[in-house]
Subunit: 368 residues, 4 copies
């Protein structure tokens, strides 16, 4: 059941990185939602490798197909199946690695857990698994847009030690983010980041980074105390993304160094309702959205696949030098931007449906 | 279902902060486990307020009772019900706050979500809800100790801006942690932290902090790709704790600034099995434990209840000055240590059972 | 997790038959529902033994207490904990049975499954576990009454071979059902049933029976294709009741002998909406309620505890004669009536909430 | 989430009857299981229409493909995706029915529930949805065979009023069942059944029936008190099959008419373990398998699609005569045999894994 995520809006992803196909089944999506193949494809294109010379040269050219749940461009309320064929299977690339668990990859732990592992590539641990998430995330996003005009925008805030300047989370848009291949809306920082990534690529190394995500127009009331608090489910969602190492909501770790009198968000009356003057809470109080913009950060480690020889041991414990092989991505954060957006969409759509169960009771009763 | 946590080892907590009782039901705990009331009580005593003059002066004096699931000190395999009566109900303390949503509390969001809220105190948003978690966590810990000799130890690493020196996560113990009321094993830092907390208390303010937790002797193979990755479930668990704002596993946010060639954990052969030379992964690779020590950090915001007047608005949007009232805790991290341990125990026990389902198949068949 | 039932309206029962307490936690009940202790107690009184000389002479005298989730007679939206102390513990009664697994009881299978079993009575297999279900069922029923005026009435249709005449399922009420201790609204059949039960009691034997349940004013649209079809969840609910052996919806097994042209329910227009002329479907088509009265039957075996000596073997396989001991109930169906109603209420309340998630989306958005 | 079934061994089905494809994702299947396409295809062939002149003349010619989770004929432990393309789409066939909800079909309730429905055929309510179940069931069956040599065999026991003679449930095999197209191992009764079905087909009518299923070599200890009792999950599974109307375990409804002294199954010592002399319990006591053969019956209504004109009303409530159209199956039970077997396999594999979690704990610990 752990390839599934969500309670009412529930996505199940499937597929190994070098098998026949990857994809997702979305169960519980309401009927009557517009769903166009182009919208899904657009987000997949933001995720795929080979978009720029900053990323891996693998050309995945993912084309998504809808096998069920949609008729004439509208959802039927039945499970939506989204599939992307793996056209570019090259299992041979990885054959040399078979006897050696790659450092900080999943080879060793998959072997311990399952007693086997996919013959090539990272199997389910590969970032390729996220194709299904991104496709499913678009479905969730359609729901959020239709009912709440929710806007979810993520961007690269840090690459290695280079940090972007202040980004206005109330205004930032995907088109702004996509102006450069790093997906950092601070152009000057973006240029430095691109240079750093390029340098890492050249030297066969990799670099990590941090993504920030802002969710605007999220209805108040989402999040289920106590184990389904909105930030808790967001944290699970983000830490389930390959290579992620940390999550913080609102003020986050920096907030831990503040005093309460500074950190508290006083209420004000604006636009006909209660708002908060500051937003250290990150749009969530008591685990429940308060109508302010939700924002959070996700840390990603430097990719473990590098173009350098590494001293390690094989499965039998014998010292070996692992020679570089296969294609690799010197930095995942530019391509992880749509993945973070997808996971945020899935979380919010699901919790919106759960909260809607409360308000919707009065609307039932067609039988009487 | 969101007051429940876990798949096979499943805890459900109940109770409002000023209602009749708080507690938990633990479903799915295997039979035959030793479970002594004293063990549960000991962890509850570490959580309760009034332990030292660093915490709130509320005396909860929590006494736990076992209503079901245990006979003669051993679990039966049936649901274990743990209850703590709320002896010290003082709803009157909070009556003045009724018309004013307290800044950065859950008053406003609970009202929006449920259309009502508990008449006093923080209801389910209060830290008192964690009594059930801590009690249930002891049950999980008994399982982990019995089968794997797992040791889970959390400590305070930061209070406000004060940071402890390096703590040896392979050696640190609860008794070491409990040597001072701050629960920071670096005695010098602990003294500074205590001073800072005391100062915050005096001035009616509050401070945040960071807790680190180490889990030793965790069997390899725990964690369920892809949405049940070990770090993902830990992140959900930690962000579900009241006042938590961030989570990082292993190298965390700092790891995002590193190069891959430095961050990768090479394998070595030691103690008859593969180990890693470094542990930036935090004991988890590909979402699955690798047998190394798991460690993570959790950020906590400064408590929102402070002893200072605050300018805000009431539920109708009229400007008011919120006068301080009720008891408050200037810093939650010392008391949050056993809560972090409890949530870690619940996560590991549950994922251990799930993984055991694979290895246990061959052992069934008693009927034939 | 299997002591829990439901997706959004989720009940967890706890307690062994001769432990300290039995009860339930209801998670996910909306806030603002009236919940009076008397309503819960009234259904518990219909379930408890010792109501008439037809049932066991055990006097349980169950008094329910609400530990959480309710304030001033209204639900808070937080988990509702309902507890009944086991006042009448008499573990000694069963001590002689310890080495001998009672035929058609759970002694043998609990031992195989858990490697242990409760020291006395049937543990969780005992009908006493249903106290929690009945209490929780009242909460569900309050929700259904408030929003849909749903009426759920069960009655005894058969005891041993004696069958009641036609009962009007559109009119039958609980007060009508309770006119006689057998809970069969056909007074003449009820008298025969009472005589049969009395005779079984005298001879130390037991008899089975069948309960029918009608659910009126159920909103159309409940039930979730494909594995959450309304009849599927009802079937699970009913077969989870101790001693139940069968379930049929609408025409049931008799319908299997019919032709399609007779069995189909043609639509008619009545009361401003589509109705069906006949109701062989039992108010459910395609797994979804159609607004007609839902009705189903549940078969119960004769209780396995009898007052006769039985030839069997002990746990070591040695032939023994098991002498009668303990108290027993010659027929469970009169007392199972409120249990069937409770489980039906839990199913319908949960599926109503799930369906409400669809219609409620448009009503969210308070934050904007 | 209701297109998913199971806790650890979890199947999600997808696809509408006349969309692009139908299929299933199986999550949680252990690694290392042999899985051959031919085994899946063989069961699909038993399910598909057009096998004999007793069934609908639609030729589905279903060919299954495996998109993920299997490499070199062995499961990887990752989600297994099984897809069957809908080659024979003929949406036009159903166009005339659009404005008229067909009696006892799901047209009306799907419209009420979702506000829309698939443009043709029965959408998810169609028996075509069960393609995914049957395919997934083979995976479950492989697990059960490998670890326990479990044999699951279903057969037709009744068609209309014609009942088979006694079938030896300890010996009956699939090859015996498949000797005639009715799938009734009593050849004489089978001939009468075939005649009855043929007669119904000719007259444009349909007939119902009853299937019995026996599960041999099921390990003792499966089933999770209290809501996951083995018979409860079986009941849910069976009532989720299209057209099913009833379920009974062991003695079932007939058992309700017996005395306890006759119904109890005394224990005997045989084959080195405790067995029961009789098996009215149907292999389950207290919700847990006892190692005896599990058997149960499932009632199926006569198909609602008939070749006769029917008086009914359209969606607007206007009286109409619904003329026959589309292809139809005069009796579903012969083809439902592999579906019943599939659902039984899914239930047992899942509950076996859950029980294995208990016994498997001691086997973990590879990390230490």
């Amino acid at each position: 059941m752990f390839s599934s995520f969500g309670t009412l809006f529930r996505v199940t992803t499937f597929g190994e990185s070098h098998g026949r196909a990857v994809g997702a089944v979305v169960d519980g999506c309401p009927a009557g939602l517009d769903l166009r193949l182009e919208d899904i494809q657009a987000q997949l294109d933001r995720r795929r490798p080979g978009q720029s010379d900053l990323t891996t040269s693998r050309q995945e050219g993912d084309r998504v197909a809808i096998l069920s749940g949609v008729e004439k461009g509208r959802t039927l309320g039945t499970p939506i199946t989204l599939v992307v064929q793996n056209l570019n299977q090259r299992p041979g690339d990885y054959s040399g690695l078979r006897a050696i668990p790659r450092p900080s990859h999943a080879d060793y732990t998959y072997q311990l857990k399952y007693g086997t592992r996919a013959a090539s590539g990272g199997g389910r641990a590969s970032a390729r698994e996220t194709v299904g998430r991104v496709a499913a995330g678009v479905v969730a996003e359609q729901l959020l847009k239709k009912f709440f005009s929710t806007a979810i925008v993520a961007w690269v805030e840090k690459v290695g030690p280079i940090k972007a300047g202040e980004i206005d989370r109330e205004q930032v848009s995907r088109s702004l983010v996509d102006r450069n291949p790093v997906r950092c809306p601070d152009e000057k920082a973006a240029a430095q980041m691109a240079a750093l990534i390029g340098k890492a690529k050249e030297s066969g190394d990799s670099v990590g980074g941090v993504i920030t995500c802002a969710c605007r127009n999220v209805p108040a009331g989402l999040g289920e105390p106590v184990f389904g608090k909105l930030e808790a489910i967001l944290a699970q969602a983000m830490l389930s993304i390959p290579a992620s190492k940390g999550f913080e909501i609102g003020s986050g770790f920096a907030g831990a160094a503040m005093n309460g009198s500074d950190h508290n968000d006083p209420f004000v009356f604006r636009d006909g309702r209660l708002r908060t003057l500051t937003n250290f809470s990150g749009g969530i109080q008591g685990g429940i959205s308060n109508g302010e913009t939700i924002y959070f950060r996700v840390a990603f480690k430097p990719p473990a696949t590098i173009g350098k020889a590494q001293e390690t041991v094989d499965f039998e414990g014998r010292p070996v030098v692992l020679e570089p092989g296969g294609r690799h991505d010197p930095c995942v954060v530019p391509r992880a931007v749509p993945i973070v957006e997808a996971m945020a969409s899935l979380v919010l759509a699901d919790l919106a449906l759960v909260q809607a169960a409360r308000s919707g009771l009065a609307g039932l009763g067609g039988g009487q």
